[in-house]
């Protein structure tokens, strides 16, 4: 099953709704990265509201994808984490290191936009577009 990746201006929005198999996770990762490269996205918002369980593999995948997206020049925010998921992740000692997280989508967009606005490419190009 292919996870939709939505474009919102310079931001890509993707929502993980179902449990993914390993192959699907890899597919998703590749899709997201190519989408970022294609439109030179400045931000990536990963919504995990629908995930009630996050195992260590999934956590690692999200973390890796975020790091890869960062290497492609995108800011990354993960939003919609359930309190239970947060607790489990802390218990596992395997947080989503280095990735900013917010409780809901709206807050995620605000944070992402704030970070994007501080970037050099936004400051230089917003004027001439």
């Amino acid at each position: 099953m292919k996870i939709p990746i939505l474009r919102l201006g310079d931001i890509l929005l993707t929502s993980i709704q179902v449990d993914l198999t390993d192959a699907e996770v890899m597919q998703f990762q590749g899709d997201v990265l190519h989408a970022i490269a294609d439109i030179e996205a400045r931000g990536l918002l990963i919504d995990i509201t629908a995930m009630e369980v996050v195992d260590s593999f999934m956590a690692r995948t999200i973390n890796d994808t975020a790091n890869m997206a960062r290497l492609l020049g995108a800011e990354v925010v993960v939003c919609g984490m359930h309190p239970a998921v947060a607790l489990t992740l802390i218990e596992m000692g395997r947080g989503l290191i280095g990735v900013e997280t917010t409780f809901n989508l709206n807050e995620g967009l605000v944070r992402l936009n704030r970070r994007i606005q501080q970037r050099g490419d936004s400051i230089s190009t917003d004027q001439d577009e």
């Binding site: 990762q29 590749g30 990265l33 190519h34 970022i36 490269a37 030179e40 996205a41 400045r42 890796d64 790091n67 890869m68 997206a69 960062r70 290497l71 492609l72 020049g73 995108a74 280095g98 970037r119 050099g120 490419d121 936004s122 400051i123 230089s124 190009t125 004027q127 001439d128």
Partner: protein, 290 residues
């Protein structure tokens, strides 16, 4: 006919020099012209060199047969002749087998001439042929050595100039320098890139260094390791590093290898990287107001 014991290659060469030279030149030039129709071959020079070579051979074989294990003395006339010949043809792009052909042709011709001219029941003929075969073999080796030496020198020069070409450090703006990395990054190049970058940072008092890896075909552990060292060195001089031009595959590889360039700002394109770099020195690009 001479007495069989006095029969030498020197005599054959003296009598038949022109004939041998013509046959030699015809055969060699025929092959070269066929294989290298676009290479200009200086026939007069070749003929002159070949004549000198035959003269040397004649001198060598005029008295006693050269001792077993004969080697051309480095710097002697015959060695110099062959060296020059080889260097010239290596530079002109004549292949090694066709350069060596030069000696093998004259060997054939000389053996035939010897067999024809030798008096009946000549006792020294065998020794003579073996000795000549040895001498010409040693000359082939000399030729080949010189050829290889020249080629290696050419290759070394080329890789050196390639190295120079491929690692420019560009001063983009006041206090912003940029390094466009192109091609495969090996240890030697990585060191040179780092050196150049550090020199440039020091020279221009740069506070931002942009590292563009668009032109690097493969980002693997070793390349990533080299780039990390370069980045760390630049940071030690107080410069902030912006990396640009990583592609999706590269990003995936790097993260899977456990490299995440945590201390480095990364941007998709050089364009975004330049904007970021300028921001760090308090500049931005704006349209000209009409």
């Amino acid at each position: 006919m001479t007495e069989s014991a006095d029969f030498t290659l020197g005599q054959v060469l003296e009598i038949r020099q022109e004939e041998l030279l013509n046959a030699w030149m015809n055969s060699v030039l025929l092959t070269w012209r066929r294989k290298y129709p676009h290479t200009a071959i200086n026939e007069d020079l070749l003929r002159l060199q070949s004549r000198q070579l035959l003269d040397e051979l004649r001198k060598l074989f005029s008295g006693a047969i050269p001792p077993e294990g004969w080697e051309p003395v480095p710097g002697s006339k015959i060695a110099t002749l062959l060296y020059d010949f080889s260097v010239k043809h290596a530079k002109h792009g004549i292949k090694h087998n066709d350069t060596v052909l030069y000696i093998s042709v004259i060997k054939q011709l000389l053996i035939r001439a010897l067999l024809q001219d030798a008096p009946p029941a000549c006792r020294v003929l065998n020794t003579l042929i073996i000795s000549m075969d040895h001498v010409l073999d040693r000359l082939t080796v000399t030729l080949y050595d010189a050829y290889l030496e020249t080629r290696e020198r050419i290759i070394a020069q080329q890789s050196l100039s390639l190295l120079e070409l491929s690692t420019p450090v560009v001063r983009l703006w006041d206090r912003v320098v940029m390094v466009p990395l192109i091609g495969v990054i090996d240890t030697q190049r990585a060191r040179q890139i780092t050196e150049r970058l550090l020199e440039a940072i020091a020279k221009y008092e740069a506070t931002v260094a942009i590292l563009d890896v668009t032109g690097v075909p493969v980002l693997d552990t070793s390349v990533a390791g080299h780039i990390m060292k370069t980045i760390a060195a630049a940071q030690m001089l107080g410069a902030q590093v912006v990396m640009t031009g990583i592609n999706p595959d590269g990003a995936q590889t790097l993260v899977k290898l456990g490299v995440n360039f945590a201390e480095v700002t990364t941007r998709a394109t050089l364009r975004a990287g330049i904007a970021e770099g300028l921001l760090r020195v308090g500049k931005r690009i704006v349209p000209i107001k009409e």
